[in-house]
Structure formats: structure tokens, C-alpha cells
């Protein structure tokens, strides 16, 4: 009997937990509208720009290193 009540308590907790969690306000409608993709796109563009800049710096450093090697 005790085992059954423990199990039912566990089951009740498992069922109740997601229900309680659903009440927390999240940006669900923003996701449903697909507007989140705008945000993702903007952040990716910024990230791509910054990384592209670092890549250019990397190549510039490589060019200068080669130039110095040729001098030697």
C-alpha cells in the first residue's frame, strides 16, 4: 500500500511539474511568429562580420611573416 501511494505521489509530481512550468512566461508568441529568426539572423551577421575581420587579420599576419622569412 505504501509503495502504491509513493508511486502515485511520484506520478502526480511528474504530471504536475510540466504544468507548473508552463505558467512561467516565455517568449512563446515571438517564436511562433518566427520573429526570433530575425534576431538569430542579425546576431549571425554581426558574428560573421567580426570573425571575417579576425580572419583577414590572420591572413595579414601570415603575409607579413612570409615577407620577413623571404628577407632572411
Amino acid at each position: 500500500m505504501k509503495m502504491v501511494s509513493k508511486l502515485s505521489l511520484l506520478a502526480a509530481m511528474l504530471v504536475a511539474f510540466p504544468l507548473a512550468a508552463q505558467e512561467v512566461e516565455m517568449a512563446d508568441s515571438m517564436r511562433a511568429d518566427g520573429k526570433i529568426n530575425v534576431l538569430v539572423a542579425i546576431i549571425l551577421v554581426v558574428l560573421a562580420g567580426l570573425i571575417g575581420y579576425i580572419v583577414l587579420l590572420d591572413r595579414k599576419a601570415r603575409r607579413l611573416e612570409k615577407k620577413l622569412e623571404e628577407k632572411n
Binding site: Q22, M26, V40, I43, K71
Partner: protein, 226 residues
Amino acid sequence: MKRNWWKILSVVLLVYTVLAGLLWDVPRLSILNETIRALYFHVPMWFTMVLLFVISGVYSALHLGRWGSAAKTDLFAVSFAHTGVAFGLLGIFSGMIWANYTWGSPWHGDPKQIGSAVSLLIYLAYFVLRASVDNDEQRARLSAAYNIFAFVAMVPLIFIIPRMTSSMHPGNGGNPGFNMYDLDSTMRPVFYPAVIGWMLLGVWITSLRIRLRQIENKLEEYEDGF
């Protein structure tokens, strides 16, 4: 290209972080709400800073132990400390934005906030010390010794004191650790790659600083030679 695989990995992981970090499900928690996603961007700044400071401290120790070229270990130590401070500042400012929404104000006097600000000031003093010594060898040795003290001071300021007092940061002062965030560990598959991606980016930027300084030094050698 073969030697640069880790740079490509860094870019891949960072793009993944943005995509998964903004689009995947996260635990629904009150107060935090969607800001829980800041975990993927704010916390890796600190992890990266600590990694860069560790590497910097190791090179300072190597310098004091006269291991390898003295000029090289000094250059590596100062470059890693420099990028480390940059990541630390990003961590502070991103944390202030997050705190404004979850704690109510940007600066709470939280022990971890104060500890990280103080340790950043300690590291800034490292650069002041370097700028104030003219002799190259003296500057390298003094700053290497100071750098080890700075690292030793950072460990209790960021990792120990906040855990002993009542910090609002998770994992400190009786607060639950990461378990509070990833109840069902939905966040781990994004958080750990994010940390690695940001760390590799930090090392990449530092390597650029080092290479440009080495080019500069070589050019100065040529100028002295003629």
C-alpha cells in the same frame, strides 16, 4: 589549413552557440524567463578569462624558471593576460545587463561581482607595472612575479569568497549550482560547446597579438642591423 583546424572549430561552435542558444528549448524558470539563455554568452566569458589567465601565469612561471626564450615567455604571458582582461570586461558588462533584469539593478555589491572587479583591477595593475619599468629584462621578471601573485589573488576572489558568503550567483553561498539551470540538462549540449568555442576564439585573438608583436620585434631587429 591543417594547423588552423581549431580556428574553424571555434567558428563552427560559435555559430552553433548562437543558433542553438537562441532557438532550442530551455527550462522554464520564473524571474529568469528567457534571460536564462545568457548562460551561453555571459558565463563563457569568465571561463575564457580564467583559461587565458592560467596560460599567462604558466608562461610567467616558465619565465621565472628560465625555461625557453625569455623574450618569448614574457611576450606570451603579457598577451594572454591582455586578452584575458578583455574577456573579463565583457563578462562584467554582460553580467550587469543580466543582473539589471533578474536582480533589479546592474551593480548589487554581490561578492562575486566585487571579487571579479577587484581581480580585474589587480590585472590592470600588471600593465601599469609593465609600463613603468624601462629595462626589458627587469620588466619581464618583475611582471612575471607579479602575474603569479595576481593569479593567486584571483582564485579566492572569484572562486572561494563568493562561495563562503551569500552571493546571488548560482553555485555560491548556499545557492544551487548549475543544477538550478539545467534541471533536465537541456542546456549542457549548448553550454559546453559554447565554452569551448569562446575559449578557442580567445586563444585565436591572443595568437594574432603575439604574431604581430613578433613581426614588430623582427622589423626592429632589421632596423638596428642597418
